[in-house]
Symmetry: none
């Protein structure tokens, strides 16, 4: 299953036309702006979208990742059905039409057609999309890699540095140049502080699939590998204040949360994932996730734990880093 976390890459040029149309839509300037107080309806920018190929899809998760063209630019469009919420059930039951498919004894199945506003599809558009985006969403087989402390220094770190993945979009968030209204909590301290906001994947309409990200203000921590005991106050601060903020805002106590880091992370600026415990968030598997509580415990027992430790993580078949490990005879 392709990692749904959108890896932001701002080296690309924005479509003036697309951004203008969307910005106007957001400001309510379009003819379809509607009544005062109503949400403006965006011009259906996807009516001109031409599918090139399907990158991946999941029947289990009811989503699809599509590569295509939008206004002559490469784009990736992600569609995902939305969870079914209890609070709209009565409306759904009274306002839908049913087509019977099968009946057998006490069991019967139907195809139900609901009012569209009660059955929306979460849509994400990445445009213009780079080759990196297209590759990211392309479903690939995974391989487990064993990375010693030495491997990190000789293989992974040089690779990361050479790629120079842009995290400008992260800085935009930290500097409130983008997504400022989405911020749930901030501790502005430059050393121990962070910004907490909903992850892209979460539409915030229900807590069942709660997913927030805490992005640290410090800019020199790439990943788990850079963490030492001097970062314990930072990590504890994220844990403590993040949990409190989530309890305040969403009424979800710490015992209902899964709080972890990824290794390898999707982007090399330290961030922590807060997901609801019962929700099998993509990427919460043991091969990639590391409980924040465990990370803190490890650093308390050994300041250089993550310098020396052998770490395991999955890499997709087309990942350049996997090739490096193969070349080094480590796979």
């Amino acid at each position: 299953m392709a990692d749904v976390a959108v890896k932001r890459d701002t080296d690309s040029v924005e479509t003036d036309e697309l951004s203008q149309r969307v910005k106007r839509a957001k400001a309510g300037d379009e003819d379809g702006g509607g009544e005062a107080g109503e949400e403006p309806e965006a011009e259906n920018i996807l009516s001109g979208f031409k599918t090139s190929n399907i990158l991946s899809d999941s029947a289990r998760e009811k989503n699809i990742f599509i590569h295509g063209k939008l206004a002559d630019q490469d784009a990736v469009v992600i569609l995902e059905k939305t969870p079914i919420r209890e609070d709209i059930l009565a409306e759904v039951f009274s306002g839908s039409s049913l087509k019977l498919e099968m009946r057998n004894d006490i069991y019967s199945t139907y195809r139900l057609q609901a009012p569209p506003h009660l059955n929306e599809i979460k849509t994400t558009v990445v445009c213009p999309a780079t080759e990196k985006h297209v590759k990211k969403y392309q479903r690939q087989e995974s391989f487990l890699v064993e990375e010693t402390g030495k491997d990190y220094q000789s293989i992974t770190l040089p690779y990361i540095q050479k790629q120079s993945f842009s995290v400008q979009w992260v800085y935009n968030i930290l500097e409130k140049k983008a997504e400022a209204e989405r911020i749930v909590y901030e501790d502005p301290d430059p050393k121990a502080g962070f910004v907490l906001l909903p992850d892209f994947k979460w539409d915030q309409k229900q807590v069942d699939d709660l997913y927030l990200i805490a992005i640290v203000h410090q800019r020199d921590i790439r990943s788990l590998r850079d963490l030492t005991s001097e970062h314990i106050p930072l990590l504890q601060n994220i844990f403590q204040k993040g949990k409190e903020a989530i309890l305040q805002r969403y009424n979800l106590p710490a015992s209902r949360l899964r709080v972890y880091l990824h290794y390898q992370p999707s982007y090399y600026h330290l961030h922590v994932h807060f997901t609801k415990l019962g929700y099998e968030a993509p990427g919460c598997g043991v091969e990639r996730a590391h409980l924040l509580a465990d990370v803190i415990q490890n650093l308390q027992s050994d300041p250089d734990y993550y310098k020396n430790r052998t770490l395991y993580f999955p890499l997709r078949a087309d990942d350049g880093l996997l090739s490096k490990f193969k070349e080094a005879g480590r796979l």
Copy 2:
């Protein structure tokens, strides 16, 4: 997550009224039967449905299991969003309306409202439903528990011992009294040996969801907590020979496997899980799974690692052990 497979129970009495209405709908006798050749639309039998409570739901899988009343009878209604098919995309894109939610650089998100016939909801009705049906679909919330080495001694261990969970079925396998034909590999050594066989959950029809269990011959290791450095040869033996056997039998190399233990385990006789890396096996989440490679590494660095370590694990709301932790003020 409730098992979606519908469990049939034919001891129940069919609702004459309901079945008659639905059968007539199927035969096209209803006024809403429509034109010849068209699918008959069932009377919206759910317009009279009254929700009693939600049994479970999955934001990831976009489904919901509802207990309620239909024509004065107990019923379970299951709604599930349908996968997104490639063949209807063009129609969806041209026929939908979009509401902009957010824009940041090249990324934008929308709520898309599609024509209902392109966005149906799979609906199953079990009516009349028995108490067995209702219990089957009832999900329990999970809580994350923090267990120190001391907590294990004072809370968990006494609880396990008092429960005296029977592992006779495990001994039956080890002694070839049961499931002997399912054994994929065995090392009969009483100290370092184990039996490897497919897990119940795997139908062995494809390797996509490969799942095997290695059960140790030693009978005095309950779980991770009992492991010390003296067990390293055992653990390494399981890892090595298990991987080899899987490569031989299923042509799947070690780099495609996820090999781990559970804490808490489902049963208190040491066993190791071998699952395919790309398969998100239930229970492979970081809150419960521990990579075997990590366990070996931990014991190599500290012989008493699992005696002293604080471990985290999820417990269901109805788990007796959760009550013990609550009583002890640890939750």
